[in-house]
Symmetry: C2
Subunit: 97 residues, 2 copies
Amino acid sequence: MYAVIFTAKIKHTDNEYFATANRMRELATSYGCVAFNAACEDDKEIAISYWSNLEQIKVWKQDPEHKAAQALGKTRWYSEYKVQIVRIEHEYDAREL
Amino acid sequence: MYAVIFTAKIKHTDNEYFATANRMRELATSYGCVAFNAACEDDKEIAISYWSNLEQIKVWKQDPEHKAAQALGKTRWYSEYKVQIVRIEHEYDAREL
């Protein structure tokens, strides 16, 4: 299992920011994203999407609607952001810790 | 580079919750944690710590003060939580996307 960790510093939000965030979740799911988790606090945003394989992530990265959202994110909504593609090595929940 | 993704559903916070969160960051740094990023929104918490190797994470997991905090987390602060240990495969920032 893989995950894409998106971390950003928000400079501005508007209606389109929220609509785009929702639309991107929908679109990611159509590319194979199996789970999604996100939290915003003050000007900080963390969003993690989970995927079965790297190929799906690569195709998702190239989607034209996703690329348009990335461009808007860069110019309008975020002062900085970072994307990390990670492989899950181990996983525990509260019962095992 | 590795990361530990902690995701939780908060059921209750108190002064000790915030003090412990700060103390855990301090303590993790002393075990080799090189960066930290977290956001809470409503009852959701996401915290990501970054590490150079898996051995440091293993030792950190066994620290007695950390184990006491985990026990408190389980009984007092969180209704559920999950820990994922991940390896960073690729990383991009806004300049490259």
